[in-house]
């Protein structure tokens, strides 16, 4: 599926707000510095050794989540998302409690979580000795689980919390499916705006890497990088793998006509976005990236632009993506966002897109292509460029 440029200017998709949070910090400057190569990746090698993670920068939650009661009802993956969503909404000039916020629609890319690790540990330690394992499990869960933990686990409760805390109540849809959920959230929001099926959307995702249960899923598949920090491009030769990162990004997408009518400026224009899901075999990812480029990247002019790749570092697909990019745009800088803030699964593509938007807005890039190749499945590509007349 591919979305090209909207036919009429009125339905061009403007990015009018961004909010991003990662191990690098909060907001534009911390992330632009990484793009310039002026900062080094923040890696915590101790807490979850032997698994390094890129930990979220400490945030003053109350800046975006004023009520303590709301903070208590969320786990960190949700708080990161609600925080970044708030930044994006403010950035777009959508004031808290404004009528306009209530009309914004959401497409959120989310996983789930988080476990109560102490309760799980106690159950696992006791169940082997229990006379009746199932009865023991039921008894302990009934008495030890916090009732509200469920609400911190449900995938759609990131969107639900954004509705409650940030007052975005147009409607929300939550996409699941790791990296590709982030790609398709962007693609479908873009398609709906271009087709007149909505005027203003909040799109993004969040991920908390500082969770042993998150690490566990990826360790099961052998995907975690356990060595000293190395660029994602250099990892395949040593077995490959990713370092999970905590982070979140949200973007406000808006039909040009809608933005102009309220006097909002474009930070950048989302020219096109494509996604695909190819059956993986050697060579398939390279072919897929080239096909997506043909669909949505053709207007990339090269000079003054860059590629922001969401490459994971997983062996095979990482080299294939790099090979195709080198073939398509030789000599154009290719930045791996995984080298800056790690791999943030559902949030990786939105984070790449938010960073691309910031770079275009700041005049560092004329255009940027953002790519995603999921560690297991799914490929995506978007093109952003400077707004006409600087917005």
């Amino acid at each position: 599926m591919a979305n090209g440029p909207a036919s009429g200017n009125d339905r061009d998709v403007w990015i009018t707000g961004i909010g991003l949070v990662s191990s690098l910090g909060e907001g534009r400057s911390a992330h632009l510095a990484a793009l310039d190569g002026d900062s080094t990746a923040q890696v915590d090698t101790d807490t979850f050794a032997p698994y390094p993670v890129h930990p979220a920068v400490p945030l003053d939650w109350s800046k975006q989540i004023p009520k303590k009661a709301d903070q208590r009802q969320m786990e960190n993956w949700q708080k990161l998302g609600v925080y970044a969503a708030g930044l994006a909404l403010e950035d777009a000039g959508l004031a808290r409690d404004s009528e306009l916020r209530r009309t914004v629609q959401m497409i959120v890319a989310a996983g789930g979580g988080e476990r109560d690790y102490a309760v799980d540990g106690q159950i696992l330690s006791g169940i082997g000795k229990a006379e009746n394992a199932e009865a023991f499990l039921n008894e302990r869960l009934m008495s030890d689980l916090r009732p509200t933990l469920f609400l911190a686990q449900l995938s759609n409760l990131l969107a639900g919390n954004i509705a409650i805390v940030q007052g975005v109540t147009g409607a929300s849809r939550t996409f699941m499916g790791e990296e590709q959920a982030g790609v398709d959230a962007v693609r479908i929001a873009h398609a709906r705006i271009a087709a007149g099926q909505g005027d203003i959307f909040l799109v993004g995702g969040s991920y908390n890497a500082e969770r042993p249960d998150a690490l566990l899923i990826y360790e099961l598949g052998g995907y975690l990088w356990k060595e000293h920090f190395a660029s994602v491009w250099d990892r395949p030769g040593e077995g490959g793998g990713f370092i999970l990162g905590s982070g979140a990004a949200f973007l406000v997408f808006e039909a040009r006509a809608h933005a102009e009518a309220r006097g909002a400026k474009a930070l950048a224009v989302l020219r096109g976005v494509s996604s695909d899901h190819t059956r993986r075999h050697p060579g398939s990812v390279g072919v897929s990236v080239e096909k997506l480029w043909e669909q949505s990247g053709k207007a990339f002019r090269g000079i003054g632009g860059a590629v922001l790749s969401g490459a994971t570092g997983v062996a095979g697909v990482t080299e294939e993506e790099r090979g195709s990019l080198t073939k398509l745009v030789p000599g154009i800088p290719v930045h791996a966002t995984g080298d800056m803030f790690g791999h943030t699964l559902e949030a990786q593509f939105p984070l790449g897109l938010a960073l691309a938007t910031a770079a275009v807005e700041a005049g560092r890039l004329h255009q940027a292509v953002v790519t995603s190749v999921g560690h297991k499945r799914g490929e995506g590509l978007a093109l952003v460029e400077a707004a006409p007349n600087g917005g």
Binding site: N132, M142, T174, L220
Partner: protein, 436 residues
Amino acid sequence: MTSVPSSSTRDALGRPLVAVTGAGVVTSLGQGKADNWSALTQGRSGVHRITRFSTDNLRTTIAATVDYVEGAVSSAPFLSEKLAVLAAGEAIAQSGIGTPGDFPGALFIAVPPVEMEWPQRIALARASGRTDDITYADLLRAAGSGAFSAWHDLFLFGTVAEHIAERFGTRGSPISLSTACSSGATAIQLGVEAIRRGETQAALAIGTDGSVHAEALIRFSLLSALSTHNDDPAGASRPFSKNRDGFVMGEGAGAFVLEDYDAARARGATILGIVAGCGERGDGFHRTRTSPDGGPAIAAIREAVSDAGLTPDDIDYINAHGTSTPENDKMESLACLAVFGERMNAASGSLPISSNKSMIGHTLTAAGAVEAVFSLLTILNGRLPPTINYELPDPAIGLDVVPNTARDATVSRVLSNSFGFGGQNTCLVITAEPGA
């Protein structure tokens, strides 16, 4: 409308019409439309005592699980995929679209959020060799052996969709989604929108849920959301009754093959009905409770009706969300009264509303899709499935809930409601084939 027009058929708002050409369903009542419809119109309940896992120490011991499917075990991704395959297979076979394994359109599938479950945690703990003070560090160490790598894929959020996409040969990137208890309706809505904007001429929309296991049940139980009428499983789900005390968890799947109306006609497909309108509205009131004034639900209903180019007076029947929780049924009744007014009054009898959940329980992620299939069958069969267990009417809810017994009615326009945790309100309007 007797001939296939050369120009495209449009709805009242100038968009391509979205036809349903295939439908499939599986619930605790049975597999397939025929068995389900027969049971549903006989007022039979699929709720029973849970036997798939131990209910020792649980407050609720009943559910409408699907146990008759070969290999049914308590594993949310595994069973949800199985149920989705059954429903989608039935829908695609009926539509006659494409060729086996080559569905010429996109996939939108509502799946329950997954995570590692207890059997796997316990196996990893055992493999770690540790017996005391077990932590996730031990599980991680065991996972590192590579012996359990299949569980990586099993517990990824996108795996069920990938398996369904590969099995049926759908095109492009499949969408896995969740909007809690309105997920199934959202899957259909996404398909409708994709066809309306001309992105695809066909879509496979599925809602599936096979997630009843001990912890899932306990989570709802701890929120006091479940019925505890354990001694009377078939009578436990009592939507709109005064003595309703919560919902009963259910499993199932529903699927629609959606097509551009003209494309479907051009290939000679039988048009079963039209998804004419969709409405949705968020709610920032509370994580599990809906705005008590029903505001967002009212807005979603109005939007669905107007999106269909209709007015409230055009709706013939409402397929309720009707969970049997004290709060939902009250709020839903309020919202329907606000939109449809006097017609909702039982005395007037002009706008009946009934809840399939009285029989199949709350199929959660699947509910919106399962109930959309039943809404379509209501139109096709001219018969309203009842709300069973309606022995003690709630005087605060004076609706015609089609109490206890099915009845014949001419129905060409149905509103199907879905409301969920996290402020999710999604409504669909399903109508008869325009030429019918």
